[in-house]
């Protein structure tokens, strides 16, 4: 066992002394970047000992710099290494390599140094790196060990033999330094930019076999400053290298560096595309079904720590589809476990909702509802083609990885069909649902400093800006504050952007400095002010997707709500579609606001106009839809009995009838402050 810390310290001292013994001037051919590491770090063009010592002083005797100078001197004195070794690689080749990195045809870079035991000791690792689109550089005994085992080396095989000793690994760093200068806009001497580029953009890992000298350990350990994970395959202790085995070293390294292999095709015997999403499977077409009140079924997505789960693993617990009777209803538990560096527990429910879309993407699979209310069907046609329960799992695992490449590093799926196990797991799931409800329900607009915008609809409503808060969903009802947050994290330049709400201008109407500033910019200067909780003053703009419209009825000093599904006439004298045509297109229309249905249940609803007491009319079907939840809310606010004071088309079709109705029931809006 070599102690990395001790070896590094000793190695650094040796390197420093060796620099002092450099005699002749030296330089590399075929490069415009001199000694690239030294040049990128300090801007100094090193060609002799004096310059080398200058760079050493400037970089605090950095072992990478020392190694670079020493290797350049050795190369100048002894000539280039003979084939198969590449030695220093020319700028022209680097340009092509850099191209492949930006282009994505190479996912990342790996360096393997040291002496594997026996021939072919590194062959499996190299094969795995090749399969994962990594470009691998080799230095030291690993090279004869590979060629001895018949592994082909060369750029075309993505395995590049740099030189006969691990010391040649320094070329790995001079390549990255040049890529940073050529492609990353790093100017020579801008050490800070270089280190940031190496840490954030250079997808590089280092794999170390035993047998490194102290100087070589100093060199390899020096690469940590560039943010490259160093993975040790034994023989070293101490230091901060990650211990790994040949079986997991590539996965661990890629995971640590966040290098992801993109999934492109899903290996299942049925089509999978959003095109199939709208297609339902009727009873006659169905082979088996799960849930829907016919059998217990549920779905649950949970976050795990990286390393706890195996990416792409699908497990079926219980009978497969061929053991199920045609036309039968069976129990089902869909358990999805995900891990990712940026994944957060808060995202679980948002991601869980995607199970619905993904299962429906399958040509022969169908899904409705959520949580323990799900209803899933698989078609006869799909089963005839060979689709099994397992394939639904593969579809889910692949789609989650494909659609959330920046968020998720690993997804595994367990499908339970064993009746008793489904019931047991369902009980567990219900606990999780309750915890989540408590968490989201508790969230208030005042608890957060950041809201989220949605400008998805600017394609047809050019100046529309939705502001989404924990207590106010997007007006389409489809995007919650958490959805906005996660969408922003997944696509930082997308349609959902964070809004710092800033200082309060008017707490009652919900007007904030930061929101105004954002809305003005995002509406291209058209909208100056926006109050989040008011229909009357500077209401939010409306695209055209609103689930419902809230509008003032000055005759009765109240506000009515009409939802999209209601086709009849309203007391305002206009139908939903006439109203929608009037207020849509991204305009701000005082007295009118597009809202989601659930917003009616929010404590912030109509806050600027004196609260929900202003609500005078809603279509009967909408009242029915909200009844249970709304009555509970009203009771909490001490408004028991108010629900029945809200008129609908059965009690008041016209404004006159509405006025009479409100008078009769003693509606609170009549005695509130005048609206206009």
């Amino acid at each position: 066992m070599t102690d990395v810390e001790l070896a590094r310290k000793h190695g650094e001292d040796v390197l420093k002394t060796r620099i002092a013994s450099i005699q002749k001037p030296f330089s590399y051919e075929d490069t415009a970047y001199h000694l690239p590491i030294s040049y990128a770090l300090t801007g100094v063009q090193v060609h002799d000992r004096a310059a080398a010592e200058d760079v050493m002083t400037k970089t605090g005797n950095n072992p990478l710099v020392a190694s670079e100078c020493l290797l350049a001197e050795k190369t100048a004195a002894g000539g280039k290494e003979p084939a198969p070794y590449t030695g220093f690689i020319s700028d022209t080749v680097i340009r092509k390599l850099g191209y492949s990195l930006v282009d994505g045809s190479i996912l990342g870079l790996a360096l393997i140094v040291g002496s594997p035991q026996g021939e072919g000791g590194a062959a499996a690792i190299c094969r795995e790196l090749q399969e994962k689109y990594m470009l691998t550089f080799l230095a030291g005994n690993v090279i004869p060990s590979l060629s001895g085992a018949g592994v082909k080396l060369g750029l075309e095989y993505r395995l590049i033999p740099l030189g006969p000793t691990p010391f040649y690994g320094v070329h790995f760093v001079d390549i990255i330094a040049r890529v940073a200068m050529m492609f990353g806009g790093v100017t020579p001497g801008d050490m800070h930019r270089l280190l940031a580029y190496a840490a954030e953009r250079a997808k590089a890992i280092v794999i170390v076999f035993p047998g490194l000298t102290d100087e070589e350990i100093a060199l390899v350990d020096g690469m940590r400053v560039l943010g490259f994970p160093i993975l040790s395959l034994g023989g070293y202790e101490g230091g901060t290298w990650t211990a790994a085995t040949p079986d997991d070293v590539v996965r661990l390294g890629m995971e640590q560096k966040g290098i992801r292999v993109n999934v492109t095709a899903i290996p299942i015997p049925m089509g999978c595309s959003p095109a199939f999403e709208g297609k339902s499977i009727r009873k006659e077409e169905m082979y088996v079904e799960f849930g829907g009140g016919r059998s217990p079924a549920f779905e649950l997505l949970r976050m795990r720590q990286p390393g706890e789960i195996e990416d792409g693993k699908v497990t079926v617990i219980g009978p497969e589809i061929d053991a199920m009777k045609e036309g039968s209803a069976n129990p089902l538990g869909i358990l999805i476990e995900v891990a990712g560096k940026t994944m957060k527990k808060d995202y679980e429910p948002v991601l869980e909702r995607r199970i619905h879309n993904f299962v429906n993407y399958g040509e022969g699979s169908w899904h409705v509802a959520q949580r323990d209310l799900i209803w899933v069907r698989i078609s006869k046609e799909a089963v005839a083609k060979g689709v099994k329960i397992e394939h639904i799992g593969k579809l889910l695992a692949s789609k989650f990885r494909m659609d959330f490449p920046n968020l998720l590093d690993a997804v595994s799926v367990t499908l339970i069909t064993d009746p008793e196990k489904v019931l047991a797991a369902k009980k567990e799931a219900e606990k999780v649902y309750d915890e989540r409800d408590a968490r989201i329900k508790g969230m208030r607009d005042a608890d957060v400093n950041t809201y989220y915008s949605c400008t998805l609809c600017q394609t047809f409503a050019p100046n529309h800006v939705c502001v989404i808060t924990p207590e106010r969903l997007a007006l389409c009802g489809a995007i919650s504050w958490l959805d906005g947050k996660i969408a922003y994290e997944m696509s930082p330049s997308g349609a959902n952007q964070p809004i710092e709400k800033g200082a309060v201008i008017n707490a009652l109407t919900g007007e904030f400095e930061g929101v105004n500033r954002f809305v003005k910019k995002a509406s291209h200067g058209e909208i100056e002010r926006c109050s989040l909780y008011s229909v009357m003053e500077f209401p939010m703009t409306c695209c055209g997707c609103f689930e419902a419209i809230a509008l003032m009825l000055p005759e009765v000093n109240g506000i009515m709500v009409v939802n999209r599904e209601f086709k009849g006439m309203t007391p305002s004298g206009m139908t939903f579609s006439t109203l929608a045509g009037t207020i849509g297109g991204g305009a701000q229309t005082p007295g009118f606001a597009g809202i989601s249905k659930n917003y009616i249940l929010s404590d912030r609803f109509l806050q600027g106009e004196g609260g929900i007491g202003r609500l005078v009319w809603m279509p009967a079907a909408l009242k029915e839809e909200l009844k249970e939840r709304l009555e509970k809310k009203l009771a909490e606010r001490g408004l028991t009995g108010f629900f029945d004071k809200i008129a609908d088309e059965t009690s008041a079709e016209t404004i006159e009838a509405l006025a009479e109705f409100l008078e009769r029931v003693g509606h609170p809006a009549l005695t509130m402050k005048p609206l206009v």
């Binding site: 340009r95 092509k96 850099g98 191209y99 492949s100 990195l101 930006v102 282009d103 994505g104 045809s105 050529m182 492609f183 990353g184 806009g185 400008t455 600017q458 394609t459 050019p462 330049s493 997308g494 349609a495 291209h524 200067g525």
Partner: protein, 319 residues
């Protein structure tokens, strides 16, 4: 009170250099610096923007080209180098835009031939050149690598990056210092998003030309016009992610019914009219480069742009 033709704009459009003369390491006889507009074009008495540049489009595999142009240009279309020379010397284009249509052939894999075509065009003309690569994920990487490498030093304009397909083009632009065309489907937000994606990958703002996608007049051009207008307004108001020059091609006009179904005697005239009015409208919306395929359209556009006040930023060099 005189009308304020600056409309309170705050930010000029950024500039992009097309073509490198010997002084800058290339072999072009001219180099254009496009952009820099401070207000809308075609305003009377305003030194706002120079006349748009006119690019003539050619291809290396004419089977995938409009039969109208094939008939008009005759044998020329089978010799891409001669066609290039004619576009420069006879048709009087400012730029040559080469479409590598050969890459559209089924299972195309002869990447080396792409290098030869690009080399040929670059020696046949000393005007700055626009190159449109492949549109097939399997070969994109190699094709753009080849284009970028062959044109190294010439500051080409490479096309066309889209939201789902920009990495190879961006890589070629970064590796060999070319500029790129970023196309979005008539949508200001997607245009902005693509520019941001390109920025994130490392392409500088002064290496991007926006293609808002140009529908043919009467076949969606009104949407293009509106998108361009909004891109330009946002840019002049200070949105730097949209403050790039724009390029428009009238290519779609050659396939519309009115042109296709016109009788043989009138067909050239019809094609020219549709190309001309589409390009003129695009220029009015702010395009810095307009592209045509019919040689007859160029003199009409020249005449239309003749009175534009500001001189284009042209650097001439020894060819």
């Amino acid at each position: 009170m005189p009308f304020d033709v600056q409309f309170g704009w705050t930010t000029p459009i950024g500039d992009v250099v097309l073509g490198a003369t010997r002084a800058d390491g290339g072999t072009r006889r001219v180099s254009y610096r496009i952009g820099r507009g401070t207000t809308l074009p075609f305003l009377e008495d305003v030194n706002g923007s120079p006349a748009p540049l006119i690019a003539f489009e050619i291809c290396d595999y004419p089977a995938f080209w409009s039969p109208i142009i094939r008939d008009y240009c005759g044998d020329l279309v089978n010799n891409v180098n001669e066609w290039t020379k004619t576009a420069d010397a006879t048709y009087g284009a400012d730029l040559v835009r080469l479409h590598l249509t050969s890459t559209k052939q089924r299972n195309f894999s002869d990447i080396a031939s792409i290098g030869k075509v690009v080399e040929g065009v670059l020696s046949a003309t000393s005007l700055p050149v626009i190159i449109e690569g492949s549109n097939e994920p399997k070969i994109d990487s190699e094709v753009y690598q080849k284009c970028g490498e062959t044109g190294q030093g010439e500051r080409l304009l490479l096309g066309t990056a889209e939201a789902g397909k920009y990495r190879s083009i961006a890589a070629a632009a970064l590796a060999y210092n070319h500029s790129i065309i970023a196309q979005s489907p008539i949508d200001i937000n997607l245009a902005k998003q693509l520019n941001i994606l390109l920025k994130e990958i490392g392409v500088q703002r002064d290496h991007i030309v926006i293609d808002p996608y140009t529908g043919a007049l009467g076949y969606g051009f009104e949407y293009s016009f509106s998108a361009m207008e909004r891109i330009r307004f946002s840019a002049l108001k200070g949105d730097t992610d949209l403050a790039m020059p724009m390029i428009c091609s009238a290519a779609d006009t050659l396939t519309i019914k009115e042109v296709r179904e016109t009788g043989p005697e009138e067909q050239d005239a019809a094609a020219i009219r549709w190309e001309f009015y589409t390009c003129l409208a695009a220029a009015a919306a702010g395009a810095e480069i307009v592209c045509v395929r019919h040689p007859g359209t160029i003199p009409l556009l020249r005449a239309a742009f003749a009175d534009m006040k500001k001189e284009a930023y042209v650097t001439t060099g020894v060819p």
